[in-house]
Symmetry: C2
Subunit: 356 residues, 2 copies
Amino acid sequence: MSAFEWEKNIRKVVPYTPGEQPEERDIIKLNTNENPYGPSETLYKAMSELDSDSLRKYPNPAAHDLVKSLADYHGVSIDRVFVGVGSDDVLGMSFMTFFNSDREILFPDITYSFYPVWADMMRIPFKEIPLTEDFRINPDDFCRENGGIVIPNPNAPTAILMSREDIIRIIEASKDSVVIIDEAYIDFAPEGASVMDLTDKYDNLLVVRTFSKSRSLAGLRIGYAVGNPKLIKYLNDVKYSYNSYTMNEPSIILGKAVISDDEYFRETISRIVSIRERFTDELKELGFTVLPSSANFVFAAHPDISATDIFEAAKKEGIYFRHFNAPRINDYLRITIGKDEDMDRVITFLKDTYNL
Amino acid sequence: MSAFEWEKNIRKVVPYTPGEQPEERDIIKLNTNENPYGPSETLYKAMSELDSDSLRKYPNPAAHDLVKSLADYHGVSIDRVFVGVGSDDVLGMSFMTFFNSDREILFPDITYSFYPVWADMMRIPFKEIPLTEDFRINPDDFCRENGGIVIPNPNAPTAILMSREDIIRIIEASKDSVVIIDEAYIDFAPEGASVMDLTDKYDNLLVVRTFSKSRSLAGLRIGYAVGNPKLIKYLNDVKYSYNSYTMNEPSIILGKAVISDDEYFRETISRIVSIRERFTDELKELGFTVLPSSANFVFAAHPDISATDIFEAAKKEGIYFRHFNAPRINDYLRITIGKDEDMDRVITFLKDTYNL
């Protein structure tokens, strides 16, 4: 198409490419870190609340019922919780709100690929801090002047967990900027790994979570942040200035219902963690290097077989992994933990295809 | 609360204040232009598609099924439709994408109050073009250098419709910028009032719609835009750079279902239009000035009674109107058209309270 006159005056960005969402039903989809188990059944009972009156009217702009149930669940006051349309929305709003100085924000060079995309789009200067040789975050590298810091814990796609002590060092060295810890996968890490409790102590710490992984609700798009009431207030001010009603009624009602079923939540997580451990051992037996995972996926490489090759061969068999064609990690595959039978098929596929 | 060190480096905005969403069930809520009739019943049948598998997985990032049903409904190709979390999200993304020059964007001085909020937040220079004495838009005033134009048609809160000819004059005078016509209320206007068909002819025209008014689905948060494929592509690029999955699965599935029931849609609109005409006549009989409405609300003032007074007195009776404490319009009340019995109660209240 030829250029139009108005094109010179608009914002052109190179868009983020999300993982493939193939529509076929019989594939093994291990490429976007979804939960293989469905959401809590409590959700279906709550669906009857989606009546004519609740759908024709605007939702509560503060998504009060959902915020309240999250606040109660985490034992914090409601003015310390912010909700958004997936953690992407929460993180995007946070970038817009908190990363507003002329100084560079910091995040790892190998990390969630949306961070540089948001920074580019919002024209926030940034510096990517290299991970160590063994793909770990060295906290010292983050103790420098900055306009803000964002780190996923566990990191993605490495799945490696950072210690609370290391995070505390970073927060204490950055008192005049906001430190965001993106805990999208923290529910799959050992107890006590989260730093959410530290939001009480550190007014510049924001902890972000999502319903898309451990809560089995990627289809509903719910993310949230917990922090000091003042951080949450600034975040809400920006949210209300962009879209007063981001959370629709199904998200509020069904999200709240799912939070109430803690038993199912813990049970599915423990199942996934145990499948992850078993699958990791099996991959190692086949000669793979597997980074120590605290998430619902593993990051693995084989010394003799290219990741691209495995990725393509698996896809032909209807098995979807994620491969990042990026420096340092293009030998690796990110494999979501599915059900036992899914992982069995992966192991069988690898053995059969590569005579391992 | 005292100031924190990080506060100097963040974005502080004066947030938009949405209309009140009182929680009591027995009130008459005529303050946020919701539809008094519920959404099409086809929606409840579609709800069974919200199964475990569709909720645990990410939705289709392009919201394909919803986009396809909108494209079919309007007789356009799918690359000409963009969907978002309410028309606020669609408009917000459009501001971010298309209003990116150093020139002032133009919109009426009396209009949807979110426009200056978005411009402020995104640091877009803007000029508010005064409506005429009788609250109309003079197209000549918009035929000047600009970085973009946004006009609701019918305008809000005046409810007054602009002619196609006037809109065409504005579009033709602004070939190097994008003109957004916000048709949130167009379904309540006479047939042929929409300029959506002109998106075929004018590559710089974007028409925005919402499910929140005529489709009775404010609770689901669905808005959309129709325009040239290149406009839609740029919009999607920005969307994918902010949040790949803005539309959740309930929005996609239920939104699509509602589109399929055109008969119910037309029937409720015609009911609302006829109640609006009857209510307008009755207000006039009570001495009110009522601007000619092509929307699902009326904008009315009484020569002898202050709007603030009526607003407060009505609220005490459980009747909610919208009042804008702004120059030129603070004598007016915006009253949403509800069911017959709601409007009867309004008339009775006015007669009884003010001896009209």
